[in-house]
């Protein structure tokens, strides 16, 4: 435990000492801010229309603003996650500091979990920035907070699994750019796998769509805590970290 924390602290230090973390925070805030402003504008427009027609139709902050926005956070994350994970191991391999980590009296697993945890904490900070936007809703309306909390839990789980995959890919190369590009490709593919269910109903299509990381987020976006979806993300996290461990171990066989 202590070692995990030491590694995690060091990684967070790297993120926050260099401009990486602040750059990501700023970009995330701007992009999500735009999304939020847009969707709020549309909500207000709909509200005015419904008043002008004289026949008000149901307006719901949770359904019309929070739910689509939370799904969009995941999409922004898709672009940001490779930037967070690409350096985790690739940089250590390039600079040779991996020799320090693997010859120190710590287990590989502790190094891996520490690094992944740091990435998750950084991502949580990004999520916190988006949460600030939702505070406005509480000031001017009264949305239900529970679906929002569950939505954020889902976002964190989803990001955790994608970060684990990114961490694994980062162990495969010395080159950060390659790690980042491959991670982005893999994540994008995992994202769009769900499309096949649009025209195909065979078992393979269902299985493929099930693998998609967004199908499992829908329940969270609705504010429903589905254990099978939580387990899906947890499994993905475990698999990602497991393959990372195997990959780091294989470094000891090669040079």
């Amino acid at each position: 435990m202590r070692n995990i924390w030491i590694i995690c602290r060091k990684e967070l230090g790297t993120y926050f000492v260099s401009p990486i973390a602040y750059l990501l925070l700023a970009m995330f805030a701007i992009i999500f801010g735009f999304f939020f402003w847009n969707s709020l504008g549309y909500f207000v427009y709909l509200g005015m229309q419904s008043q002008m027609r004289g026949q008000p139709f149901p307006m719901n902050l949770n359904e019309q603003i929070v739910r689509p926005l939370l799904s969009n956070v995941g999409v922004i994350g898709l672009f940001f996650i490779p930037m967070i994970t690409m350096r985790l191991f690739a940089e250590e391999k390039r600079s040779g500091t991996i020799e320090l980590l693997t010859t120190s009296p710590v287990r590989d697993v502790e190094v891996i979990i520490g690094k992944w945890l740091a990435a998750v904490v950084l991502y949580a900070c990004l999520l916190l920035v988006t949460a600030l936007n939702f505070l406005f809703l509480f000031k001017y309306g009264n949305p239900d907070w529970k679906p929002i909390a569950i939505g954020y839990l889902g976002l964190l789980l989803q990001a955790g699994s994608l970060l684990a995959i990114g961490t694994f890919i980062s162990t495969l190369t010395k080159n950060q750019i390659i790690a980042g590009a491959v991670t982005f490709g893999v994540l994008l593919l995992l994202w769009v796998l769900e499309w096949v269910s649009g025209y195909e109903t065979a078992t393979w299509a269902k299985a493929l769509a099930y693998m998609s990381v967004i199908t499992h987020f829908e329940s969270f976006a609705k504010g429903v805590l589905e254990s099978k979806d939580a387990i899906f993300y947890a499994t993905l996290i475990f698999l990602g970290l497991f393959f990372t461990a195997r990959s780091v171990e294989s470094l000891r066989w090669r040079s």
């Binding site: 070692n3 020799e99 040079s255």
Partner: protein
């Protein structure tokens, strides 16, 4: 302290380390000597648990590197060929991170940081970013991180590579000063380094140990095969070289007198001797016999030549032969 038996490392296409065995006793400084690509780094990496051996065993302080890697790692300080520094970290922050990683905590940690900073003379760059340090300082910070947890064994991979002569001397002195507290293995391809810092040498080439000896023995071996080059000139432009050869051959300790080159006025002899100091006798004999001593030059086999001979290098020619081919 370190015991290596039949250690082997195979890569996909090559055999990097081929059944090597050696022992290192507590408190010794051992030089790991060999040309580039001989398998020095691979062997060291196996000792530090960075690489797993293909076969064979190695134990450090009684712990097997495969079965008890954590125990081994606790007792080893390792400086890889390029110091494993995080460019963006501050020196002190880095040492604190490594210290914690090696299991230091509480009040002990700042004490050890203070100690290694003083020992490695890096106190004045404590608050500098590692990426901005000069090569010499980077090497010393690398050494500082290796000794921060006061390990029994220090493994240093080419600690002086890429440094300027002044820094090389400083690093050597530092390594020597660490000898009392730690058992040290250092690798190098520079012979004088071994002569100056180590007590024991392990010569390795193409993955095999080809000699294990103390530096003193190796030097003795080098001197044992001493040969001297003498150029003798005659008075009035005449020289009876056969007479000179016979006269010199009578000097005690001289094994063989070979005529290398002969001319009307001078002759060059190569004299092989078992004894170390025949040069004085040679000079005296020549002068007393009334000949001119134009040149007297030892062509003693240096450690360099022994090394080249052992590693089977083609360039193991003696300086004389090299000169002749140039002509």
């Amino acid at each position: 302290m370190i015991s290596v038996k039949e250690l082997t490392k195979k890569y996909a296409r090559s055999l990097a380390v081929d059944h090597i065995s050696f022992e290192v006793n507590k408190g010794e400084i051992v030089g790991f000597l060999g040309p580039n690509g001989a398998g020095k780094t691979t062997t060291m990496r196996m000792l530090t648990c960075f690489l797993w051996p293909t076969s064979g065993t190695a134990t450090v302080a009684g712990f097997d590197v495969i079965e008890k890697p954590l125990e081994v790692k606790k007792r080893i300080g390792y400086l890889p060929e390029s110091p494993p520094l995080y460019q963006e970290m501050i020196t002190e922050e880095y040492l604190s991170f490594v210290g914690k990683l090696k299991g230091l905590s509480g009040a002990e940690l700042p004490k050890r940081i203070e100690y290694v900073c003083e020992r490695c003379a890096i106190g004045d760059v404590k608050n500098k970013q590692l990426g901005k340090l000069s090569k010499g300082y980077r090497q010393r910070v690398g050494l500082a991180q290796a000794i921060i947890h006061n390990p029994d064994v220090l493994i240093l991979d080419e600690p002086t590579a890429g440094l300027d002569p002044k820094q090389i001397n400083e690093t050597r002195d530092l390594v020597k000063s660490l000898a009392g507290d730690h058992t040290i293995i250092l690798s190098t391809h520079i012979l004088s380094e071994v002569e100056q810092t180590c007590q024991q040498v392990i010569i390795i080439n193409k993955g095999k140990v080809i000699a294990t000896d103390s530096v003193r023995n190796l030097q003795a071996r080098a001197r044992g095969a001493e040969s001297v080059l003498v150029e003798v000139g005659g008075r009035n432009g005449k020289l009876d070289w056969a007479g000179v050869q016979q006269r010199l051959g009578q000097i005690p300790g001289v094994n063989r007198v070979v005529v290398k080159d002969t001319g009307a006025e001078r002759t060059i002899f190569e004299i092989e001797s078992a004894k170390q100091f025949v040069r004085g006798d040679l000079a005296r004999t020549i002068v007393e016999a009334g000949w001119d001593l134009n040149e007297l030059r030892p062509t003693a086999m240096s450690l360099e030549e022994i090394f080249l001979q052992l590693t089977g290098d083609e360039r193991s020619a003696t300086p004389v032969e090299a000169e002749t081919t140039e002509k």
